[in-house]
Each structure stands twice: as C-alpha cells, then as structure tokens.
Amino acid sequence: MVNKILFIAALIMMLAILLTLYRFFKGTTAADRLVAFDVMTVSSLSLIGLIAKFSDRIIYLDVAMVYGLLSFLGVIIVARYFEKGL
C-alpha cells in the first residue's frame, strides 16, 4: 500500500521535472532558464529523498544536503553575474 503510493508520487515528480525541462528548452530569456533550473533542482531534491527510502540507506540523505547547498550556490552565482558582475 505505502510502496504503491510512493511509486505514484515518484512518477508525478518525474512529470514535473519534464515540464520544467520544457520551459528550460523554450524559455525566451536567460532569466527564464535560470528559474527553470532552480525549480528543476528543488524537485529532484525530493526525488532523492524517495530514492533513499526505497533503497533503505540513511547515507543517501547526506547527498541530498550537499545537492541542495550546491544548487543554491549556483543560482546565487549566476544572479550576481547578471546584476553587476561577480
């Protein structure tokens, strides 16, 4: 029961990542693509949480933490570059 519901949740998250990939592919300005990148990484963060539950290892959550920190850093760096140079 629980495993089936989590399987459906993982499928919905994959669909969400595909929709943001469409915006990343088509977005007219560079800022659009940066927003799409941000939402894509946050969605895959919760996908990592589901992978950790399915394979039953707590060590995978550390990867989620590093992943979130580095995606945040990337968005900040690109936004600073847009604003007035690094």
Binding site: L11, M14, L34, M40, V63, L70, L86
Partner: protein, 81 residues
C-alpha cells in the same frame, strides 16, 4: 522497477541537456546547461550505488566548475570596456 524507470528518465534528461549545452548560441545558457548535466549525473550515480562519487560530483563538477566559468566570463567582459 522504479530504479529502471528512473535510470531511463535521467539518461534522456542528461542527453537532452548535453545537446542543448552544445547547440545554444548564448554562452551563459550553455554554462548553466553543463552544470545541470553534472547535477543530474550525480542523481544517476546515486542509483548506481555510489553516494561518495555523487557528493563529489555535485560539489566539484557542478558548483566549483560553474564558479570558475563565470569568473573567467566576468574578467573577459570587464576587459572589453
């Protein structure tokens, strides 16, 4: 079963982002796409049972590489005018 679906999905995502990083005219978008390739490759390493490689790839391949690319791009723009 979920592992195989996730691996196929991440593979398609990685290849589409890589083709976009090669073909796009705008250099900023190309650098962001190359960073996204590294980030999704780290999720693929997680499915291939290598969490230490996933951590290092997310930290170095995506974070530090992007910072170095934008540092050089900023220096080039500043010399221009």
């Amino acid at each position: 079963m979920l592992n195989i679906i996730l691996a196929i999905f991440l593979g398609i995502l990685i290849i589409v982002l890589a083709i976009m990083a090669v073909l796009n005219k705008n250099i900023v978008v190309a650098i962001i796409a190359a960073g996204a390739v590294s980030l999704f490759a780290s999720v693929l390493y997680l499915i291939l049972a290598a969490p230490d490689v996933a951590m290092t790839e997310a930290a170095i391949g995506s974070g530090l590489s992007t910072i170095i690319f934008f540092y050089v791009l900023n220096k080039i723009n500043r010399q221009n005018g």
